[in-house]
């Protein structure tokens, strides 16, 4: 293991020892100590989680999956048939009991993912969900007015393009396979992966044409 954000972890621990914490922090501290004492919680799993998620695992994994699908039609077919199995080919674990479904954008269809209930998200390929993904506003409006949401993200999707909204659950998560942009013929997978943004894999971005996103 390398690259742990040990400073962040140390800071988190240090914070807890420096002064009387705010009330919710005190409650979390009490809960953790109680659960560890009763043998219900392994403190090592708590530390491991904090290490992983302060390091941010994604969304480079998802970008690698997309680039591979763009350059390997057989992989793309397997990915669309069974996302959970296909990502293991790249060394990315799925998660026990949960499934990944990859939905493909085409010239006629745009896909958008949301979790209307809470914040279910394909962590194993996209890492950490952005703040807006968990807001009540996004969770409600992605379903009610997806075209309006996309416009706010700077994507004016023509009326001729159907928008499909996928509601994630704890058991089934979605990832969008964006369209490969024109002008990238001959690019290798690493170059292509650099074009793929997290928002494109959530569906709040659509056009990955090189250079387009850099101005905004």
């Amino acid at each position: 293991m390398s690259g742990h954000d040990s400073h962040t972890i140390a800071h988190i621990h240090e914070e807890l020892h420096s002064h009387l914490p705010p009330e919710p922090a005190l409650r979390v501290k009490a809960l953790e100590s109680l659960l560890v004492e009763k043998g219900m919680l392994d403190p090592a799993t708590v530390d491991a989680w904090i290490e992983v998620f302060t390091e941010e695992i994604g969304p480079k994994r998802g970008a690698a999956v997309v680039a591979r699908a763009w350059t390997d039609p057989d992989f793309k077919a397997r990915l669309l048939a069974d996302g959970t199995a296909a990502i293991t080919e790249l060394g990315f674990d799925g998660w026990a009991g949960g499934h990944l479904k990859v939905v493909e954008n085409t010239p006629d269809v745009h896909n958008l993912i949301v979790c209307t209930l809470c914040s279910c998200y394909p962590h194993s390929v996209l890492g950490i969900p952005p703040n807006w993904y968990k807001t009540a506003a996004y969770r409600a409006r992605a379903v009610r007015d997806p075209r309006g949401v996309l416009a706010e993200f700077g994507e004016d999707v023509p009326e001729s393009v159907a928008i499909r909204v996928w509601d994630s659950t704890a058991e089934l998560r979605y990832m969008v396979l964006p369209e490969r942009p024109a002008g990238t013929e001959g690019w290798d997978a690493a170059e292509l992966a650099d074009l793929v943004t997290r928002n494109a894999m959530i569906g709040t971005a659509r056009d990955l044409t090189p250079g387009k996103g850099e101005a905004g």
Binding site: K29, L34, G97, C120, Y121
Partner: protein
């Protein structure tokens, strides 16, 4: 099992690596993840409890931000623990007060140990530490 196996993960900043606004934001989800891995509740149980807590926060008019989200996560976690382990749930308030006393009784800069707060004392006079 890797930590992402339970599908419990933080809200993140829109750009760059995760920055937790408060250390307890990270800890509340890390504990939820640890309990799910230990089998006290399932991912679906967690999603349902968190979803319900978020709906209550929305209904109460809470702002749609990190503070509301993590407060809801804590409420969901406390609720699930109390439901699945009444013994642990019933001990929580006492443990909170023990830690509060421990923090107040420990001089600034020294490690805070729970043992320092286990004995209740009505004569807690360490209020000055709050402003130290």
């Amino acid at each position: 099992m890797p930590p992402e196996a339970t599908g419990i993960a933080p809200r993140a900043s829109d750009e760059g690596p995760v920055r937790f606004a408060e250390p307890w934001h990270a800890q509340v989800l890390a504990i939820a993840n640890g309990l799910a891995e230990a089998g006290l509740f399932s991912r679906s149980d967690w999603a349902a409890a968190l979803g319900a807590a978020l709906r209550r926060a929305e209904a109460a008019g809470g702002p749609d931000d990190d503070a509301t989200y993590y407060a809801a996560a804590l409420a969901a976690l406390e609720g699930l623990v109390a439901e699945r382990s009444p013994e642990a749930g019933g001990s929580l308030e006492g443990r909170v007060e023990a830690w509060r006393r421990a923090y107040l009784r420990t001089p600034h800069g020294k490690p805070v140990e729970l043992s320092a707060g286990l004995e209740a004392d009505d004569a807690d006079e360490d209020v000055s530490l709050r402003g130290a």
